[in-house]
């Protein structure tokens, strides 16, 4: 019995290691490229240098694009959470007619190819005279990320026993109080997960952004995408490395905070 268990464990561990390696190795290779000394994407690199990182900070537009992407990702994530969490609550706790259709409707943005959404939004934004480029991006990204928030938050809500909420209601708490004091705190991990998803998707989105952005509002993916017609800038490798490092730092912080906030 003992050997069978450890055999199972070893097999699982080996499989998981291989899959994680598959997920991580390309980023690792990219990181190695980013510290190379040549101004082209070459592997193995010919020497060690921070040149590509320097270029990121020195060349026109990279830093500004990165900031814009961060701003848009943060605002659109907040908007998607603000709209998506209550919607997920309604969809999981309520039982009103048309609930399934509403769910399908809120999830539909993932079903429409981004090129189509892009063209549609571009024409529409122009017609309603929405001229603020950053706002256009925030709205567009909120549409694209809302489904992920709804799905993740719904999954989390289903995980929370409604009996807890009922108990609080029985003890005289108002519906809003229950929501605020019981449901939302329990939902925090899901909110963080869905927010992270929304942020990542917004930060990565290129096709819709390409269309709806106005001149000058160049997000990082737009800048990456536009510079590939004839070449792939090696600065992209440096950006990948910095973003990966940054995401690991942020996630470690979130993970630490999360550990305090929940009792699993």
């Amino acid at each position: 019995m003992e050997t069978r268990i450890s055999g199972w464990r070893i097999a699982l561990g080996a499989v998981v290691t291989v899959i994680l390696a598959f997920l991580l190795l390309p980023s690792l290779i990219t990181a190695v490229i980013s510290f190379g000394s040549s101004n082209q994407i070459v592997f193995p690199p010919t020497g060690f240098s921070l040149n590509l990182f320097r270029r990121f900070f020195a060349e026109e537009g990279w830093v500004a694009s990165t900031w814009l992407s961060f701003r848009v990702a943060i605002w659109s994530t907040l908007l998607a959470l603000f709209l998506g969490i209550p919607a997920a609550y309604a969809l999981t706790r309520g039982s009103f007619p048309g609930r399934k259709i509403l769910a399908l409707f809120l999830l539909s943005p993932v079903m429409v190819p981004h090129v189509a959404v892009a063209l549609a939004l571009y024409i529409y934004f122009t017609e309603i005279r929405l001229t603020n480029g950053e706002l256009r991006l925030v709205f567009a990204h909120a549409i694209a990320t809302l489904p992920f928030v709804v799905v993740t938050a719904s999954a989390g809500l289903r995980h929370i026993d409604p009996a807890l909420e009922r108990a609080a209601t029985v003890m005289g708490a108002s519906r809003l109080t229950v929501l605020r004091r019981v449901t939302l705190p329990l939902l925090t991990p899901s909110i963080i997960a869905s927010g992270l998803f929304a942020f990542l998707i917004s930060f990565d989105e290129v096709v819709i952004s390409w269309f709806v952005a106005r001149a000058g509002d160049t997000t990082l993916p737009i800048k990456m995408f536009s510079s590939i017609q004839f070449e792939v800038s090696p600065v992209l490798a440096a950006i990948s490395t910095m973003l990966t490092a940054l995401s690991i730092v942020v996630c470690v912080i979130v993970a630490t905070v999360q550990k305090e906030a929940r009792s699993d």
Partner: protein
């Protein structure tokens, strides 16, 4: 009592109102214009179904539609095979370690797919690291890129996180006592997994599969970068007609058909047991 619950249900619906309103104004309305656009004549004039007629009579579209379906289905299966062990492993970790491993699962997101395609070549190419290692053992190089396998590699690399989360949620909502009870009754680990854990996680698998399949339908850059000449996707055609040929009725018609395929997939899956868990309720 009955009236009170009805009121509560109406109140529940109200929570979804802001999202529904936002989506109606900024998504449904613009999308309606795509449908309208697909029924336009190429050079203006009245409504017509000529774009659809052209799609259904041109062999290219039918072939590409078939490829798109084939690629999307196999990418979903391929991603599932890789995502499930990860989710299973994550479910067994302490919250803190789980969060840390989650970071690793999300790392691929931060590298642009263009740079990634180069990294894959370094790793899996004919003279790549893996083939060199195989060569050291006297094994002939294996072609892992620029064919369907390469497409699977590139797509699953992006899609795995979308699969891991729903499966993980599903696995974690299983009562631990079930597996314990089975173990007490003498069932082996594999047997417990096959008879208890796996069936109970199916809702998560279904939800993830739907999400990943629909996302796959819209892929085209990764297949173009890592696939062979025959790995052409439908979204590629939307892009060509939108940006190169400027034939927006055609682009819109192709897009409408893609949406229809996705909606059909969603509907079919919601009929399957557990499939509707993505929409709500009966999750466990």
């Amino acid at each position: 009592m009955q009236i009170r619950t009805t009121n509560a249900h109406v109140r529940d619906a109200a929570y979804a109102m802001p999202a529904a309103l936002f989506m109606a104004l900024l998504f449904a309305l613009p999308l309606f214009s795509v449908l309208h656009q697909s029924l336009q004549q190429e050079n203006g004039g009245g409504l017509t179904i000529q774009a659809y007629a052209k799609i259904f009579t041109t062999p290219l579209f039918l072939r590409v539609a078939y490829t798109t379906l084939e690629v999307s289905i196999s990418a979903t299966v391929f991603s599932l095979l890789l995502a499930y062990p990860i989710a299973y492993f994550l479910a067994k970790q302490s919250p803190r370690r789980r969060a840390l491993y989650m970071i690793l699962v999300l790392v691929p997101f931060w590298t642009s797919s263009l740079v990634k395609s180069f990294s894959f070549m370094v790793l899996l190419g004919q003279s790549g690291i893996i083939n060199q290692m195989l060569g050291a053992f006297g094994i002939a190089p294996v072609k892992m890129l620029f064919n369907r396998f390469g497409v699977m590699v590139g797509m699953s690399h992006f899609l795995i996180p979308f699969f891991v989360f729903p499966i993980l949620t599903s696995l974690r909502s299983q009562p631990l006592e079930l597996a314990k009870a089975a173990a007490i009754m003498g069932a082996g680990k594999l047997r417990i997994f096959l008879r208890v854990t796996l069936p109970l996680s199916l809702p998560g698998v279904m939800a993830g599969a739907l999400l990943v399949f629909i996302l796959s339908l819209g892929f085209y850059i990764i297949p173009a970068l890592l696939g062979g000449r025959q790995d052409m996707m439908f979204a590629n055609l939307v892009d060509f007609y939108t940006r190169e040929a400027l034939n927006w009725p055609m682009a819109s018609a192709v897009a409408v058909l893609l949406v229809a395929a996705a909606a059909l997939a969603a509907m079919l899956l919601s009929k399957v047991r557990g499939g509707s868990s993505i929409l709500s309720e009966e999750g466990h």
